[in-house]
Amino acid sequence: MALLEIKDMNHAFGGIEAVAGFNLHLEGGELNGLIGPNGAGKTTIFNLVSGFYQPTGGQIFFRNTNTAGLKPHRITGLGLARTFQNIRLWPEMTVLDNIRVAHHYSLGYGFLACIFRTPTFLRREREVTTAAYEILESLNLKDFAQELPKNLPYGLRRIVEIARALATRPALLMLDEPAAGLTSADLQGLIDVIRMIHQTFQVTIWMIEHQMQVVMDLCQYIQCIDFGVTIAEGTPDQIQNNPAVIKAYLGDDTFQCC
């Protein structure tokens, strides 16, 4: 069974076709990339998969479930998590609370249990806190548990956001430009973190990225889209030398990467 199967997905904003005939097959365990120039429709594809937009055509199957019409939190509950291009942590909640709230899908208690502090409630609160600390520990964030995200440096906020996404125990983690805005010093750290997550958390990663260093270093398989259409796919080497990709990024002629 495939983890994620996208068949002929279309999406139009008004008259503009933002995504046209997008296909994807993830078996599970991959670390794949999605690249393309600005405005190519990459984030739209993420929004479609995570349930914020409804595709105007085609189907998405996540773990053999058709996600059409499902609210985003239901899709997350199925095991799909994502981050955002512009970091969307909850700025006024501590890092620990940020991670704890991401356990909502599996809380297993309701309002009344919360008011009466039932044994289930107390047990689950303890478990959630332990799990949150485990995640923070594995990403070396434990010292920041009581900090507010708005007080953290940018690079650290990126990692916290990834940690929060991991708290939903995803089978598929979608990273939307994780390297955007990072300094070159932070980049290598990010690459290591992503590789570590891929291995230790047994999670499939699908990322949008502009930084060629990150993409070429990490991804096993890359798709390149432009104007909503897939123009090339293949291994990093194949993509690097694909004339269509070069053309989409640089116009014509020379390709001088990194």
Partner: protein, 358 residues
């Protein structure tokens, strides 16, 4: 030790309040002030859940208060008193004390259900548009009550005085003081437990980034329903206490002015701070009462200084000029309210040593 400190303090306070009310250590006027203070605490804390913690702008709190006031009054009057509307009492007056909380609960339930009137539109819209929906909802509730003739229409509904009289028949205690105190404790207890749990923190997440909340598996629609229903239900509790305290209700008590008072208390205390809400309700109520004494003094002073014409009196209406003026000034100097987003324990960490909250 720590886990007993809060119950101990509460019990002592309750006994003191009831004791001095009974022994007439304070006169009826100040007893009333304390009760209104309690009702205001319930109102501001419950509105803070939606306006502070969830970051919506609900300005129709008085409407839900009205629903609670009427429903609990109708239930208690039907159960315990002889009335023209319901006829003979269903139960003997001895039941009034043990069953009174059920009357309040009925009011709460009705108010919570009327909260759906604004909870459902909040799925699709937020901010200013939702503010209008809440105002419209409170107008609708008030107008609907005015048009139901059997419960008195615009003239109002009475008979709750007999209910409190029935309670006094069982034991001669200041019962309303007792119930208001319990209501306040119940409200703070329920809200504190809700917002300090991982479940309840979902609404904080909604206020800070709704989209991120949804993608991080928070069922935003359900959380909104819970928050709105809890908030309006507690407003209904305040309404029920208010109605039984006064002995009568009329729709004129639940105008937009009442909603404005609730809003003022929330923002005066600080959005998303329970202790701020309690504090601001106390301060606000006291301010109202102090001005009642101060205004005649101002009148005499101005008369003495011959600053006002002889045929002019500085009346109590000036209270409603001075209070907004004070608040406008306060907003200029401390735009985040008394407590900001923090609780008392954030400012005075040492008090954490004396209690434990579960």
């Amino acid at each position: 030790m720590k886990q007993f400190s809060i119950p101990a303090v509460l019990t002592v306070t309750l006994v003191t309040l009831v004791g001095i009310s009974l022994g007439e250590g304070i006169n009826l006027y100040w007893q009333d002030v304390i009760m209104f203070m309690g009702i205001n605490i319930i109102l501001s804390a419950s509105l803070n859940l939606v306006n502070g913690y969830m970051g919506e702008f609900s300005c129709g709190h008085a409407g839900f208060m009205a629903v609670g006031a009427y429903v609990s009054s109708l239930v208690s009057v039907a159960l315990f008193t002889q009335s023209s509307l319901f006829g003979a009492p269903i139960l003997s007056s001895g039941w009034a004390v043990p069953l009174f909380p059920l009357c309040l609960l009925a009011g709460m339930a009705a108010a919570a259900i009327s909260g759906l009137l604004v909870a459902i539109p909040s799925f699709k819209t937020r901010g200013d548009y939702l503010a209008i929906i809440t105002i419209a909802a409170s107008f609708i509730i008030k107008s609907a009550i005015e048009n139901i003739k059997p419960i008195g229409g615009a003239r109002g509904f009475m008979g709750m005085g007999q209910v409190t009289a029935a309670m006094s028949g069982t034991a001669d205690l200041p019962w309303m003081m007792f119930w208001v105190f319990l209501g306040v404790v119940f409200t703070i207890w329920i809200l504190r437990r809700f917002v300090s749990s991982t479940y309840g923190k979902g609404i904080l997440a909604i206020s800070q980034d709704e989209i991120a909340a949804e993608i991080m598996s928070v069922n935003t629609n359900k959380m909104k329903i819970v928050a709105f229903m809890l908030s309006s239900g507690l407003a209904g509790l305040a309404g029920g206490l208010f109605a039984h305290k006064l002995g009568y209700v009329n729709p004129g008590s639940f105008t937009i002015l009442k909603s404005t008072e609730c809003l003022v208390m929330v923002y005066l205390g600080g959005m998303g701070s329970l202790s701020g809400s309690v504090l601001s309700a106390v301060v606000y109520t006291l301010m109202l009462e102090i001005l009642r004494f101060v205004i005649p003094w101002i009148n005499d002073l101005l008369r003495w200084a011959q600053l006002i014409p002889t045929d002019y009196q500085v009346t109590q209406i000036w209270k409603w000029v001075l209070i907004p003026l004070l608040l406008v000034l306060l907003m200029q100097f401390r735009p985040e309210g008394i407590m900001g987003r923090h609780e008392l324990a954030d400012y005075f960490p040492w008090i954490k040593k004396f209690y434990r909250f579960r």
